[in-house]
């Protein structure tokens, strides 16, 4: 006689929630030109619309109205464009609205002396005017990289011209020298790769001990008496006698010809906080800053190479620009078992400081990290990325489940998600999403997916005793833990701890045997 003993093992993990956003079933959404909280063009219940001062309300979606239709807003003064702007918001603030991006928003290459900017024509005119330069805009260049290359290939040197009956000089590009200096029509004679302090040019510009930061360059540069940039600051190049420095070395060449960064002092090093060398390297973690900002004084001048690297962070020393992930909560990220209230953080080393950028709450974002090998060691980079957990539970095989191109799931072999499935495993989120369990009912339905009924068939022996015939795995001591793991990976379900490691007030599940 076969004696069937039904064993019902039910794991129910209930964390009760309510909707985070109030649903107004009796107050359908309309288009509010402005809400009572001050937001423009929101689809919201009518009770939230501001109807004062003739503000409009439409029984339709905002995109269907004329005044809240979104398009591009063009700022004709600055030459900037902002997309996804409602028509009334743009026009009421003095912008020019259009449904499609207007021609005036098309970008091109704007040459600003020895700098370039990939902007619209209007913006190019504005920036050129601010810098006292004639507008040089090339709409044929449609790529920012190509635009930057335009100025990197420009000839630079001394432009000698007459002003107030004096022979003076400006260190600039060949283009500015031949078209008009300082936005004027006066032109000069260009000497490629020569400094304005070159003796043979016989200008009124002489060397000086003054230094400054140079736009578009990393290092500290000497200034001449006319205010032009000379070569990279190097205290050994200060003339002491006639064309000689304090050590008696000839320095005239350094004040005559343009020297590259590689020809300057201590190349290939950051020269951070160096008092004698201003050959900063941004990629190595140094950049020109005023001495007063970094509290380091140079031998000459008021600028030094500031150290931008982070000597000490939560993850040890980091280079400027490096970013890394942090999950300093309890729980096990990447296994589906995350603590309640936990989230990912992205840390960044910038300008000698460690900046913490939290990824989205409820683990709707996860932090991903990678590193590249450089000549000066490993360089890590991290980013908060959307957690694509939504369709994990519907995957029925391992390959689909672990396809990282489309989802962020993990495959639990030998465990079935539901009592009716037979996939040889369960696909669950790699990082379980957080649930608003204290204020929503959706948590109940999410966690109930972890409920499981296991039927065990037992056969009674002739001389007594029972033998398990099917479903025997449910009697194994590991089965309970497997069901708990599945349950926890669905969200904030089961016997989880919170982000500081405290357990809940209840077990988080029920186990019933019938």
């Amino acid at each position: 006689m076969i004696n069937k003993k039904m064993i019902f093992l039910i794991s129910a993990f209930v964390l009760i929630t309510f909707m985070s956003f109030n649903v107004h079933a009796d107050d359908p959404n309309v288009c509010c030109e402005k809400t009572i909280t001050g937001f423009y063009c929101q689809n919201a219940p009518q009770s939230q619309c501001d109807t004062s001062n003739g503000l409009r309300v439409a029984n339709t979606a905002c995109d269907s109205t004329s005044y809240c239709k979104t398009g591009t807003c063009f700022n004709s003064l600055q030459g900037t464009c902002l997309s996804n702007t409602p028509q009334n918001v743009c026009n009421n603030n003095g912008g020019t609205w259009s449904l499609l991006s207007p021609q005036s928003c098309n970008l091109g290459c704007c040459i600003l002396g020895d700098q370039a900017s990939f902007v619209s024509l209007t913006r190019c005119k504005y920036l050129s005017g601010q810098l006292g330069l004639s507008t040089n805009f090339n709409k044929g260049i449609t790529d920012e990289t190509q635009c930057i290359l335009q100025v990197q290939n420009q000839d630079q040197g001394a432009c000698v011209y007459s002003s107030d009956y004096q022979t003076t000089c400006k260190f600039t590009t060949r283009a500015e020298c031949s078209t008009g200096i300082n936005g004027t029509t006066s032109k000069g004679t260009f000497f490629k790769d020569k400094l304005c302090t070159a003796p043979e040019l016989e200008t009124n510009c002489a060397w000086s001990k003054q230094t400054s930061c140079r736009p578009g360059k990393d290092g500290v540069y000497f200034l001449d008496t006319c205010g032009n940039f000379a070569n990279v600051y190097d205290s050994s190049k200060i003339p002491s006698g006639t064309n000689l420095n304090e050590s008696g070395e000839a320095v005239q060449d350094y004040w005559t010809n343009v020297k590259t960064v590689d020809e300057s002092c201590n190349p290939g090093s950051s020269n951070a906080n160096s008092k004698s060398c201003g050959n900063c390297d941004y990629l190595s973690g140094s950049y020109c800053r005023a001495s007063s900002v970094v509290n380091v004084n140079a031998n000459y001048g008021d600028y030094v190479c500031a150290d931008l690297n982070c000597a000490s962070t939560s993850a040890g020393p980091k280079k400027h620009g490096e970013s890394w992930c942090d999950y300093s909560n309890t729980g096990k990220p990447g296994t589906g078992i995350n603590a309640v209230g936990s989230k990912f953080f992205k840390h960044i080393c910038e300008n000698g400081e460690e900046i913490v950028e939290p990824c989205a709450d409820y683990r709707q974002e996860e932090c991903i990290q990678s590193s590249i090998n450089t000549s000066s060691g490993s360089f890590s980079q991290a980013a908060c990325r959307v957690n694509r957990w939504q369709d994990c539970n519907s995957q029925t095989n391992k390959d689909d489940c672990t396809n990282t191109d489309v989802r962020d799931c993990t495959w639990l072999s030998g465990i079935e998600l539901t009592s009716t499935s037979s996939n040889g495993g369960a696909c669950v989120p790699k990082n379980a999403p957080g649930l608003n369990f204290w204020n929503s009912t959706t948590a109940t339905s999410t966690c109930s997916q972890g409920s499981y009924t296991c039927t065990v068939t037992m056969e009674k022996g002739l001389l007594g005793g029972e033998t398990c015939k099917s479903g025997c795995e449910c009697l194994d001591s590991t089965w309970k833990q497997q069901r708990i793991d599945v349950c926890e990976s669905l969200g904030d379900c089961g016997p989880k701890v919170n982000w500081i490691g405290d357990a809940g007030y209840t077990a988080g599940y029920n186990l019933t045997t019938k």
């Binding site: 929630t17 985070s20 956003f21 809400t35 009572i36 909280t37 001050g38 937001f39 423009y40 063009c41 929101q42 689809n43 919201a44 501001d50 979104t70 807003c73 700022n75 003064l77 600055q78 900037t80 464009c81 902002l82 997309s83 996804n84 702007t85 409602p86 918001v89 743009c90 603030n93 003095g94 912008g95 920036l127 601010q130 810098l131 107030d164 990393d218 950049y287 900002v293 931008l308 620009g321 960044i348 910038e350 300008n351 400081e353 900046i355 950028e357 939290p358 989205a360 709450d361 409820y362 709707q364 999403p433 957080g434 649930l435 608003n436 929503s440 959706t442 948590a443 969200g491 904030d492």
Partner: protein
Amino acid sequence: MSRKDYKDVLAKINMNKKGQVAIFVIVAIVIVGIILILFLYPKSPLAIPSGDLNPNTYLKSCVEKDLQSNVETLAANAGYSDVNSSNAATIMYKGENIKYLCYTNQFYQTCLVQQPLIKEHFENELSNIFSAKAAQCLQSLKTEFERRGYDVTLNGVNSSVSFNPGDILVSYSAPMTVKKAGNVRTYNGFDVSIGSNMYDLIMISTSIIDFESTLGDSEITSYMQYYPNLNIEKVKLSDGTKIYTVSDVVTKESFRFASRSLSWPPG
């Protein structure tokens, strides 16, 4: 004419020629001297009846501290002066109301721009707040001139503030005439420039808003790597709101705003 008489006549002629040369030399020296004075001292003290009181320097010292204070306060609220009323479109963060510049109340949708002309709006707010202090400083300048014995006529005061690359410009449209001892100087207005990188911070914020409204988020690390003096802090709140604080590590100025775009519901 005898040989001796001839010699006398020649001597007289030579003496007259020497006198003419001397006169020419003196005249030439005077002309050169005048030219030198004009070139070396193009701004002769006679041309400025205000003496050692430079109106621009005086106004700059008067407005600078208050202007920077007002800019700092407004910049913390995205350029808005009223962020505490119930309809100010703000979010409470650490006890302060932060203004939204891009917002949607929906999930899964990118935000709608709430203020497309951030710079111009900031300038208007700042000009309104600062107009009283600007007028007070100009009145103070008038009083200072009068204390120094000048007769001053001031016809109305209009001031505006604008952000430009590298500075904040306080522009006075205030016709003023300063008289003393027959010397008269007329000013149509004054432009007071105060060093600031707020313009750059506003334009970078505008770019962040563009990314928020188009893509739903912005990558702040890229901005900081492109602009070495820039620091951006991004804090994400549980409802999907992001608080951005864009600051300059050299000038210590900052601009703060909020955005809610492409957010997801819990679970």
